[in-house]
């Protein structure tokens, strides 16, 4: 019988420079962080880089963790900061930079994110693209507010505290995000969106 160590034990070991312990922590929470990153960034590679950056920052800051909150709460704070900083740095990096575009047929299987090319998965892929495109129309703060509220279940006050802004700003951001999503995903706008996606992919 395998008894998994608690987060606190793993953190203590990681604080004593045990990389294996930190990797175990990463294995526990990497999916959650990656989910946020994949919705926050438009490109899969950017999402991967950003999520790995979060883990590196967490490892760097681990000696300062004082067990006053859960490890994940602390990690989420680092994630928010990394996302917001990424926004600032990417602004400068992307000016005048060309982007490599990989053309992928719409019905092709993407091994990184989808298990098979079944109709359901293709639909999910389209849906995911639509959601990400809708979120991309928001400001990074609004996008992050929505993700934290919707996927992480954080309260408005918690988000406002973490992002150093007012609760009203967070509420407005979340509301705008839901409005955008509804406009994109509602049955009335389904056809043009799908067509647009098809053109972009092909």
């Amino acid at each position: 019988m395998i008894v998994s160590e608690s987060d606190s034990d793993l953190v203590r070991r990681a604080q004593a420079e045990d990389i294996d312990a930190f990797c175990q922590l990463a294995e526990r929470y990497a999916r959650r962080i990656h989910l946020l990153a994949s919705h926050y960034c438009r490109h899969a590679q950017d999402a991967e880089d950003l999520s790995q950056e979060v883990w590196l920052k967490a490892y760097q800051a681990l000696p300062s963790f004082r067990f006053e909150s859960s490890f994940y709460t602390w990690l989420r704070r680092i994630t928010i900061n990394a996302f917001l900083n990424h926004r600032r740095s990417s602004f400068f990096r992307r000016r005048g930079q060309t982007t490599a575009v990989q053309l992928v047929p719409i019905d092709s299987e993407t091994p990184e994110t989808f298990h098979s090319s079944s109709p359901e998965n293709i639909f999910n892929k389209l849906l995911f693209e639509n959601v990400v495109n809708a979120l991309a129309e928001l400001t990074p703060s609004q996008r992050l507010s929505f993700l934290l509220r919707h996927y992480e279940g954080m309260s408005y006050d918690e988000i406002a505290n973490a992002m150093n802004c007012s609760t009203g700003t967070v509420k407005k951001g979340v509301s705008r995000a839901i409005g955008k999503l509804r406009a994109r995903l509602s049955p009335e706008s389904e056809e043009p969106e799908t067509l647009e996606f098809s053109n972009a992919q092909l």
Partner: protein, 218 residues
């Protein structure tokens, strides 16, 4: 009284938090209910992505391997930095000792020479010293300007040396014009005579007058 605007403003919170009062509010207006259902469906759809859009296990294996590699690199770099810092710390006490050893005798010297002297006495001593120099200063003969001593020092001066450069220049040679020694052949006239034989001048003389040459001409 039901107010559609107020209700719709609360939709986001009602959908996300699952407010139990939502049903009661929505029962009062069909339009608000339709709006709310649409919003809830959108969020359900996006929430479903959370479960479905997840990378495969193969992806995570590579992801964690890459992360481990980055962590090891970071760890190694941090250790190197710490080692370098420790070395600097070891050097620091040695240098500090050198500075301390220099500072101590300096302080002692200053302390040794600082003797407490009464102010009137010190003023009197200072006045005497100044008076001594004031009286003595005019008596000192002004030193005569000494004749400059000539010292011969060989100094190397760069001399511009002439350099003879031999250069071969090729010029285009013009053809030398020689005095012409052509001799007119004697039988030229005779030959022309031969060629004019049989020449007969025409009887009619054709003259063509060109008008307009001068204003008086008719």
């Amino acid at each position: 009284m039901h107010n559609c605007n107020d209700t719709r403003e609360r939709f986001t919170e009602m959908v996300l938090d699952g407010d139990p009062r939502a049903e009661k509010l929505l029962d009062q207006c069909e339009e608000c209910r339709a709006e709310f259902e649409s919003l809830a469906a959108t969020l359900r759809m996006t929430a479903r992505l959370r479960e479905t859009v997840t990378p495969t296990e193969a992806y995570w294996t590579g992801y964690h391997a890459q992360l481990r590699s980055k962590l090891e690199q970071f760890h190694a770099k941090a250790q190197r930095l710490r080692h370098a810092k420790a070395q600097r710390e070891e050097l620091k006490p040695g240098l500090g000792f050198v500075f301390a050893s220099l500072r101590k005798p300096l302080r002692l010297c200053v302390k040794t020479f600082l003797l407490p002297v009464p102010v009137p006495l010190s003023v009197a001593v200072l006045a005497i010293v100044l008076l001594f120099f004031a009286v003595r200063a005019p008596q000192q003969p002004t030193p005569l300007p000494q004749a400059p001593v000539i010292v011969q020092v060989p100094v190397e001066v760069p001399v511009v040396q002439e350099k003879v450069v031999t250069k071969v220049i090729y010029r285009d040679r013009k053809p030398i014009s020689k005095p012409s020694n052509r001799v007119v052949p004697e039988n030229t006239f005779a030959r022309s005579q031969e060629t004019l034989s049989g020449f007969k001048p025409t009887d009619e003389i054709k003259l063509t007058v060109i008008k307009g040459g001068s204003p008086n001409e008719k």
